[in-house]
Every structure is written in C-alpha cells, then in structure tokens.
C-alpha cells in the first residue's frame, strides 16, 4: 500500500477508462441502496445478521484480503527485487486453511452461543475479561487509524488517475462513496460490494496475466530474457537476503491469523457447516487475484530488458506502464477500476470494524454499553471516514508511516491471544493482556524509532517480526507463570466451544 502512495499513477483518463469507472461506481451505488433497505439492527450493520452465504462470503473475503498493493506496489516490488517479493504472497497457500482450522470454527460457534459481533468480543469472552477486550479493541483501533489514512490516500491517487480530478478531490470522492455505502448499508453493503469488487479484481487479474504470457511468448521466454540480463532476479530469493524473504513469509503467514478484516468475516457465515468448502474456494480465489502480481512483475521486467517497453521511472510504474502502453484500453480500464475496488473494499471493512470498536467494544470495556448501537454505529462511521480523509490530505510521508505498521500491529497484538488462546485452555487472562500490550508497545516503539532514524534494523529483520515473536514469547511465559488460574477463567459455554 505504501508503494501505491509513492507510485503517483500516471493520468489514465481516456474515454474507455472513464466510462468503465463510471459504470463501476454506478453498480456500487445500486448495491448500496439495496443493502441499506435491508439493514435494520446493529447485528445487520456489523455482522450482516450472520446471514451471508458461502460463495458471497468467500469472494468478499478475497476482496478484503487484497489491497491496491497487489495490483501496483507488488508487481513493482517484483520488478525491483525479483522473486524475493513473492514471499509476501506465497503464504496464501497455507493461510486460508490455517485460519479455518485455528479460528473459523471457534469464532463462528462463539458467535452462535454468545451473539458476539467483534473480535475483541471474542477475546473478552475467552478470557472473561473486559480489560482484555478493551486493550485488544484499542490495539485494533490504532492499526485502523493507520490503514484508513493510507487507504484514503490510495483511493485519491487511483480516482485522480482515472478521472483526472486532482488528488484532494480524489480522496473526498473515494471516501464519500465508501462512506455512503458504509453508513447506510453497513457491512451488508460492504459484503455485496466486495463480491462485485472481488469478481472484478479476479477477472482483471486473470485477463492481464494471460495477456502478459501471450505478449511475452510464455513464461519460459520471459524467464530466458531475464536470465540473459539479470539472472539474480530469478534466484529463489531474488535480490533480497534469505533472512528478509523468510521474514516476509513468517509475518504474512502467521500474521494472517490476526487480520481483523478477514477474521471478522467468520462471524457472518449463515450456516457454520458451510465452512467445509470455505478454505478451498478462498484459496483458489486468491490465486486468481494474485496472478497479476506475479505475471506483471516478471513480464514488465522482461519487456523493459528486451526493449519492448521503455525504462521505468520507478518500479511502481510497472503495472501502469503495461496497461497504458501495451494492453487493450478496455483491459486497462478494468484494472484501474479493480485497483479502486481493492482500496474501497479494504476501507469499508476497516471503517465498519472501527465503528464497532468505538460503539461496542470500548463502551463494554468501560462498563457503559451503548443502547442504540445501530445509530451510534452510523454516526461513528461518518466520523472515522471524515477523519481518515482529512488525515490523508496531510503529508504523504506521515500517512505512509501510519500505513506501515497496520499488518504487523494486528499480527503481534491478536495472533497469540486470539488464535492460540482459542485453542489452548492453558492460556490465561494475564498472558493474553501482557501479550497484547507487548505487541502494541514493541510495534509502536520500533516503527517510530525506525521512522525517526533513531535506529536501523539489520537487513532482513522487521519491527513486525520482532513484535510478533516477542508477543508470542510473553504470552507463553506469562500464561505458564499464572497457569493456576487458567481453567477457572473459562466459562462453561466457551469451554464447550473450545472442546468441540
């Protein structure tokens, strides 16, 4: 996502691109009006009344798992460092099914027995602790602030590129449309817009991948060109160190268990028995959406090396350069709309989760639950969106910094307490609270120190990885030290869910 911010997408405002862009927004508005009419309660607003079918949930989940980074920054990263950039997406082979085994069943059953609607709800129920619920809610909220500002800016960049309206207006238009459907139809509008957006992304990705293979004479010919000029790009680590590549794999595999925009979806499935096909469908969907990441990154490198494309001003120009110089314009239009879809889908999901935290989790943690959660939810949704749009108008460097730590913060604060805690009765309240606090403090401290250049990480080590390892170790050690309390801290219904 950060790379997307710096990409400064070229102006793509051609008639075909603008028409497809307008059609895209028209469909979004249509879906949102329909969803708004169906949203009547807080459960409808935050978890779609637990009534989403398997296919819709799967496509929506794919959509929120992929940000604009997969379409712009990712291919640019492959262009720059070769196959080392693949370690960000290779974990998709295991993460969906791992999430299904570790979290999906337990979260969905907790939702069944306790009518839970948020992730901090699940943590609060597991450890019978308002403090654990509150601190996890605060941690998620910090991550969302960063993600939202970054997504708002990314939306502005993409909309400016499609319609040529300027970055400031691009931010307000993108956030305005997202806000309209978030505030009126809540997560129901979000889910069905995600279905549309995810389908659009998959179609665009597959078509571009096939085009690149055809244009380049197949993967073998593309590889031959790269091997003749710069063989290190096709080494197993590309141009990054093995430690850095494996770190990506660690953070993006284990960390996937703590991403609220994906985990929150487990509550929404209408019939828990439909989970059976969820990992298979989601994995296949993700593979389709990520074909562009791999194909464009390698393809454009080969086309530049053999002179079929001019040298790029920056690696992030890889996708735009291909779309605007080589592919049919209608394909470019689809991909630009796909990028807008990716950013709006992620923004909607985060707005909804943020609103649930402010109106549901934090008041519960403070012992003052809100009575009209639906009304407050809509109000807070507007506040979060406006705050994100205003923040995004500020310095790009500051917004980029906010976006950096989102994934790592969610991973280090939630994975041990939630993913391990729901599957280990020996985990304790003290262990969970200490682990969440460790993840929050270590991530913020290390990212801030690195941003201010007070401290430089050795090659291959990231703040996210260090924070996640630290929170895991603290979780195990504190739970072991306080193990006497473990079993008495679990309510009987939660224990049944953990034992099923």
């Amino acid at each position: 996502m950060t790379a997307l911010l710096q990409a400064a997408l070229p102006n793509a405002a051609r008639p075909a691109v603008v028409i497809v862009g307008i059609l895209y927004f028209a469909v979004i508005v249509g879906i949102s009006v329909w969803a708004a009419r169906k949203t009547r309660t807080a459960a409808d607003f935050f978890v779609a009344g637990k009534g989403i079918g398997l296919v819709a949930l799967t496509v929506a989940s794919v959509s929120v798992s992929v940000s604009g980074f997969a379409f712009i920054g990712g291919p640019g990263f492959i262009y720059a460092v070769g196959l080392g950039a693949m370690y960000i997406v290779l974990p998709a082979a295991v993460t969906n099914v791992m999430g299904a085994w570790v979290l999906a069943k337990r979260m969905r059953l907790l939702g069944e027995v306790r009518a839970l609607i948020t992730i901090p709800d699940a943590i609060g129920a597991r450890y019978r602790s308002r403090l654990a619920q509150g601190i996890s809610a605060a941690a998620i909220l910090v991550g969302i602030v960063g993600y939202m500002a970054t997504n708002a800016l990314a939306m502005g960049v993409v909309i400016n590129s499609i319609f040529g309206v300027g970055l400031g207006w691009g931010i307000w238009i993108g956030m305005g449309v997202t806000l309209a459907y978030s505030a009126s139809g809540g997560i129901l509008a979000g889910i069905y817009n995600d279905v549309f957006q995810g389908t659009l992304m998959a179609v665009a990705s597959v078509l571009v991948f096939l085009f690149v293979l055809d244009f380049g004479g197949g993967l073998g010919a593309i590889s031959r060109t790269i091997l003749a000029h710069d063989p290190a790009l096709l080494g197993p680590w590309g141009k990054i160190t093995p430690l850095a590549a494996l770190s990506f794999f660690f953070v993006f595999s284990m960390g996937s268990l703590g991403q609220p925009q994906a985990v929150h979806k487990y509550y929404m499935l209408r019939d828990p028995l439909q989970l059976k096909w969820y990992p298979l469908l989601k994995t296949l969907g993700l593979v389709l959406v990520l074909l562009l990441y791999f194909g464009v990154g390698l393809g454009v490198k080969a086309f530049v090396l053999n002179g079929r494309l001019p040298e790029l001003a920056s690696p992030d120009q890889a996708t735009p350069a291909l779309l605007l110089n080589v592919t049919p314009l209608i394909l470019a239009a689809l991909v630009f709309s796909g990028v807008a879809a990716a950013t709006m889908s992620a923004a909607n999901s985060f707005i909804n989760i943020g609103a649930a935290i402010v109106t549901h989790d934090l008041p519960i943690a403070l012992g003052r639950p809100v009575k009209n959660e639906l009304g407050w939810g809509r109000g807070v949704t507007i506040l979060i969106a406006v705050a994100a749009a205003i923040t995004a108008q500020q310095s790009g460097t500051m917004v980029a910094f906010l976006g950096i730590f989102g994934w790592g913060l969610f991973a280090s604060t939630l994975v041990p307490a939630l993913a391990v805690g729901l599957n280990w009765q020996g985990a304790t309240r003290a262990g969970a609270i200490a682990s969440i606090a460790t993840g929050l403090i270590v991530t913020l401290a290390l990212e801030t120190a690195a941003y201010l250049k007070v401290f430089t990480f050795p090659a291959g080590v990231t703040a996210s990885a260090v924070a996640m390892v630290s929170s895991f170790l603290v979780f195990f050690i504190v739970s072991w030290l306080t193990r006497r309390n473990a079993l008495i801290e679990i309510d009987p219904d939660v224990r049944l869910v953990m034992e099923v």
């Binding site: 196959l83 099914v97 299904a100 069944e112 059976k276 260090v466």
Partner: protein
C-alpha cells in the same frame, strides 16, 4: 479404552495439543534466535536463515495441529497432510538455501522457471494449495464440525438466551417491587 487412558484420561486427551504447543514454543524460540543473531556486530551467521527455514514450517504446522486437534482422537488422518506440508516447506526453503546458484542464460527451465525458483514457487507456493484445503474438506465432518456439535452449541446458546431473559425479567420485577 487402553489402560493408560483409563488411568489418566485428561493427560491422554491433551497429548496432541501439548505436543503442538511445545513444538510451537520451540519454533518461535528458534525464530527469535535467528532474529537475535541478525543483530550481531559481524554479518548475520549462515545458520540464522536455516533456523527460519525450519522454524517457520514447524510453527505453522504446530498451530494448525492445535486448531485441528479434536479431543482424544487428536488429529486423526490429518497427520498425513500436515506432515506433508511441513516437509514440503522445509525441503523447499532448504533447497533454496543449499543448492548452488546456477541461474544463467542456459539454465534448464522447469515449467518456465530455473530449478531453485521452480522449487519455491511450485513447491512452497502451490503444493500446499492442492493438499491442505482438500484435506480440510474431506475430514470436515470427522475432524472439524458435525451437525451434532452444532446442535449442542445451539442448545447451549438458547439456554443462555432464556437465562438472560429470565434474569432481565427478574431484575425488572425487583425494580418494580423495590
């Protein structure tokens, strides 16, 4: 039921989960050691990536076992796909670390990629996709969730709901009386 199970059923029931937890803790410690080594004043030691290459697959396998273990039956037939995926990841990362760098214009290509890259992209990136989600679907009823499990949970949920209604009604009555 075997003698040992009769003697200490709780202990027997937790064997799989306990083993998975120990494996997860050891793997995370190994990953921490690899990062710690990277902070040394000289270059990162050559063994540090190996700790990640083994520690990451073991951690992922352990957490999947933790999630899939079902009481006394443990992980049942899932031990085969889990072992397969952990081994594939270790071999994939290990081969990338151990094999000499021979990529060049004349390299033999495997499905369009040089050998070491093909091992990583197709082995680490694609083989688990073929095995894990299919194993999840095939064992869903025996290992993950049955209609009976769901019914038990739903009965419990209804009991909780009626209990909270009763408590609410009682509180209302107390308020009126008080």
């Amino acid at each position: 039921m075997t003698r040992s199970e009769t003697a200490d059923p709780a202990r027997n029931r937790d064997t799989t989960r306990r083993a998975a937890l120990i494996a997860l803790f050891v793997a995370i410690t190994a990953i921490a050691a690899a990062y710690g080594a990277a902070f040394s004043k000289s270059d990162t030691p050559s063994w540090a990536p190996w700790l990640l290459a083994v520690g990451i697959p073991v951690a992922l396998g352990a957490i999947m076992i933790l999630g899939a273990a079902r009481g006394r039956e443990g992980i049942g037939s899932l031990k085969v796909p889990f072992a397969f995926v952990v081994v594939v990841l270790i071999i994939g990362f290990g081969a990338a670390l151990a094999l000499p760098a021979t990529e060049g214009p004349l390299s033999k290509l495997w499905l369009g990629l040089p050998a070491r890259a093909a091992i990583v992209i197709y082995g680490v990136g694609l083989l688990p996709i073929i095995v894990l989600p299919v194993a999840y679907a095939l064992t869903f009823e025996t290992q993950t969730l049955t209609a009976e499990d769901l019914e038990r949970i739903r009965i419990l949920g209804r009991e909780r709901e009626s209990q909270s209604h009763d408590n609410g009604a009682q509180a209302g009555l107390d308020k009126v009386r008080g």
